[in-house]
């Protein structure tokens, strides 16, 4: 609190005057330190002219606390407003040090006022200076309140911004954590499946080689059928239907199920089988012949399927690689192809146009780039209705490799072009989406980490194009 505004000049006048009128300094009332002079809410019948010491003005607050509102010192008049207004005291006064003051009651003041014009005027000046001092004090306090409010508002805004930042960072961390966990799981599954698949492929390789020889030694004629089955080719539905009708036409007594099985054979194998069975198409002979043939084609199926699984697992292992986040020199096309294999389930609804020539190897963190490819491909699928087109191409210009993803989907609203890379921006409304709107933002971070850039534009007549440009660092 500020020190009392000492109107000592005027007070010494008054003191001089009071002394003139017969008051001695010794007739002053004394208050000890801590003593209450006027209490809040009481009726005040006196003016107190402070000669020595300091008095604090207090306002009672909640819970027995008081706030110091002002401090008066020598020359100040205490109780001015409550004396004249005759209303209960708004504040209370307490001596901070030993206080000597002259107590003037209504009678005494009357006397002074009527004693001489000089005295009257001095008294009036004292009243007014006291009041104006208080008024200045109020003004400066209000100014202070206003400054504090502005500072508070600024502080509040800073805190809100900080909170928003933290929330976004937290989301990003959660997302990274999820991805890391998924990566671990994927890698784990891939490794678990690796052994049985390797075993499967090895065993199949042996069977493919040995089994026909085994049959050959038992039944050479049938072995021929088995071997034919091993190399059986695919026959499309329309041809099959046609063939079925032909067979039923030629052999109306034939069981339909047998006819259907026959119709699945490519032409040369069909003829081979007919030779084997003979013209009358005896049921038993037919069943036996078909069994050999179909065992051959089933074996072929096992081989193809296990190759497919092995390839998926390899792609998974290449993709995930959670152990190392280190820089390697890689062929970017390989990563794209692995990603395409892994996303096949989604991609098969679209017409895929690939143009992936060999390009230079680049320095990169492979699984991070894979994340970018995945993100861009998934976005393209989300934006494009099934049956639409997806183009993925690569080219090398000087020391830059450019990978382009284009789709024939809904395109990007030109006004949102800038915003799509922002954290938490998403136009995906379905709740099935795993996305938090972080995909493009993270992809951009990754590409920039690789010292590259992502460029976006819309495509005519419809759809969007995302270009990822990566420098070849030797």
């Amino acid at each position: 609190m500020s020190k009392p505004d000492n109107s000592s000049g005027q007070s010494s006048d008054v003191i001089a005057m009071i002394e003139k009128l017969g008051y001695e300094k010794t007739e002053a009332t004394v208050y000890e330190r801590g003593q209450m002079i006027e209490t809040e809410g009481s009726l005040n019948l006196n003016l107190y002219l402070i000669l020595e010491g300091e008095v604090e003005m207090l306002k009672r607050g909640d819970l027995d606390s008081s706030t110091r509102v002002d401090v008066f010192g020598p020359g100040d008049l205490l109780g001015l407003t409550s004396f004249w207004s005759k209303e209960p005291s708004f504040l209370e006064s307490r001596a901070i040090s030993t206080v000597r003051c002259i107590c003037l009651d209504a009678e005494k003041i009357e006397t002074f006022v009527h004693s001489s014009p000089e005295v009257r005027e001095t008294l009036h000046r004292l009243f007014i200076s006291t009041l104006s001092r208080r008024y200045r004090r109020i003004a400066s306090l209000n100014l202070k309140v206003s400054e504090l409010s502005i500072a508070l508002e600024r502080e509040k805004n800073d805190l809100q911004a900080a909170l928003k930042d933290l929330t976004e960072t937290r989301n990003q961390l959660i997302h990274s954590e999820r991805l890391a966990t998924l990566g671990q799981l994927l890698a784990g599954i891939a490794h678990e499946m690796n052994n049985p698949v390797a075993s499967l492929q090895s065993a199949f390789g042996h069977i493919e080689a040995e089994f026909p020889e085994l049959i050959q030694s038992l039944d050479p004629a049938s072995a021929k059928l088995l071997k034919a089955g091993l190399s059986s080719a695919f026959v499309d539905s329309d041809s099959r239907r046609q063939q079925l009708e032909d067979i039923l036409h030629k052999h109306p007594k034939l069981k339909r199920s047998l006819a259907r099985r026959l119709a699945s054979l490519p032409l040369e194998h069909f003829e081979l089988l007919c030779q084997f069975v003979g013209k009358d198409m005896d049921d038993t002979a037919l069943v036996k012949a078909l069994s050999y043939y179909e065992t051959g084609s089933d074996l072929r199926n096992v081989g193809l399927s296990s190759k497919r699984i092995a390839s998926l697992i390899q792609s998974l292992k290449n993709y995930a690689r959670p152990d190392s986040h280190s820089w390697e020199t890689i062929d970017p096309i390989a990563g794209i192809q692995d990603t395409l294999i892994l996303l096949n389930n989604r991609l098969r609804h679209y017409k895929l146009h690939l143009d992936l020539p060999s390009v230079a190897h680049i320095r990169a963190i492979p699984q991070e780039l894979n994340q970018v490819w995945t993100n861009l491909l998934v976005n393209a699928c989300d934006a494009t209705a099934p049956g639409g087109d997806l183009w993925i191409s690569a080219e090398q210009i000087d020391h830059t490799v450019i990978i382009t993803f284009a789709d024939s989907g809904t395109g990007i609203d030109p006004e949102l072009m800038e915003k799509i890379y922002e954290l938490n921006f998403t136009t995906k409304k379905t709740k099935a989406q795993f996305g938090l709107g972080l995909g493009l933002s993270i992809s951009k971070d990754i590409v920039e980490k690789h010292r590259g850039q992502i460029v976006t534009r819309n495509r005519e007549p419809n759809g969007a194009v995302f270009e990822v440009r990566l420098p070849i660092q030797n």
Partner: protein, 165 residues
């Protein structure tokens, strides 16, 4: 005599073959046709109806390019001649929403998850075709051997369809 057909629909040829094989023992009584897309399926249905036969059972995959299985079934259900056809989804990938739609909007009769257990498709086909024969009011006698004879007999008894033939 009117033939009762079975139609298998799946966009993956390997799976289609596998489903067909499951139906081998039924094929001599209930001819089988196949399709690799919803469009092909509708063509097959048109052929069956044009020849004066009826479609007793459809075994349909869900995830297919263009129109998916559930959409096909719903479309079929809107056609009066196909409402009695027994509808079975054979799929690994129909989510809950699609399945609910299939049940509610196409009156799906059965759901088989891929990969299916041994004989699961054959058993389901027999059960469904038995239902079809009963509900269509077709003379069940030719089918007693191949379908659920006990059930067919019961329905004959209950509906008083026993004749003096």
């Amino acid at each position: 005599m009117k033939q009762i057909w079975i139609l298998c629909v799946d966009d993956e040829p390997d799976v289609l073959r596998a489903v067909e094989r499951e139906l081998q023992d039924l094929e001599d009584t209930f001819p089988v046709d196949t399709a690799e897309s919803a469009a092909e399926a509708l063509e097959a249905i048109a052929r069956i109806e044009a020849s004066g036969d009826c479609l007793g059972l459809i075994l349909c995959d869900h995830v297919m390019p263009d129109k998916n299985g559930v959409e096909l079934l719903i479309e079929m259900h809107a056609s009066p001649s196909l409402q009695k056809t027994r509808k079975v989804l054979v799929t690994g990938q129909a989510g809950l929403d699609a399945t609910i739609r299939a049940v509610n909007d196409s009156r799906l009769d059965f759901y088989i998850a891929k990969p299916w257990a041994d004989k699961e498709i054959e058993t389901a086909a027999r059960t469904q075709l038995t239902e079809y024969v009963i509900r269509s009011g077709i003379n069940p006698k030719p089918y007693m051997k191949v379908l659920d004879a006990a059930k067919l007999s019961k329905s004959i008894y209950e509906d008083g369809l026993l004749s003096d033939e």
